[in-house]
Symmetry: C2
Subunit: 125 residues, 2 copies
DNA sequence: CTCGTAGTTCGATGGATCTCGTAGTACGGT
DNA sequence: ACCGTACTACGAGATCCATCGAACTACGAG
């Protein structure tokens, strides 16, 4: 038996995302309750469609993978491959539909706390 | 030496609360990311100034104490004694000042998810 | 095919966290 | 003074979580 990566478990490189209806508030909050993941969210809010590596996360690659996964499984972000890179996006529409206003106040709070100036106009593409 | 409760550590029954400026977003989110504590928050949102025991929590008393403490130390609620009862209140003003809109969307999300009808008069003015 | 880049998986470790029962303190009434 | 109610503090057990390094897969370019 191969000691690692049982290989080809997902040949098309597709990723599982929870349906909109399956997004749970506790999971979303838990996902956001981590400084590293909050950073990711801020980065994606400022810059949609960013690859994992493009966000300068101060941790190892495996840790980064872990955090992105937590966010995806909670329904906060979507991920899809683009060549060798993995592109991340906030699930704005879904989150707004399920928990109206939550994401916005969350991002605003994160930006405020980190002293970021989310200048008016950059919020929406 | 008394094996438990070193007694009179706080003769006036005063409780430590973080200052408004010391409230951290991660801590607030983490505090809210628990079903039990989310229940407490919903209860306090619907009914300010409630004693610990008045919320029908499905857990032991020591566990309840623990959850209330987490909420207090995160800056989500205040607690003060009134006779033998301990009264809890949401720190609405402080939270609104530090993270505008967050508490409202949080409570609304919790109510929505739990199918609670947030009294058609209290939310929309 | 080979190499480099991007990200994953596994396994381990150390630290939080949840939960509880038991034993304790504080207050208010009788 | 005594008792009951309300809640706390401690200690233990179980589980979860963040983090890492090492080994691995997948894709693209030359």
């Amino acid at each position: 038996m191969a000691p690692h990566g049982t290989g080809a478990a997902n040949p098309d490189r597709l990723l599982d995302h929870p349906e909109r209806a399956d997004i749970r508030l506790e999971a979303v909050l838990h996902a956001c309750a981590d400084p590293m993941r909050l950073l990711i969210i801020q980065a994606l809010a400022a810059d949609p469609s960013t690859a994992c590596g493009e966000i300068g996360l101060a941790c190892s690659k495996s840790t980064a993978t872990h955090h992105f996964r937590v966010l995806r499984e909670a329904g906060v972000i979507t991920q899809h491959y683009r060549g060798t890179a993995k592109i991340n996006e906030l699930r704005r529409e879904d989150l707004d539909a399920v928990f109206p206003g939550l994401l916005d106040s969350l991002v605003a709070a994160a930006n405020k706390q980190s002293g970021k100036t989310t200048e008016p106009g950059s919020l929406r593409g």
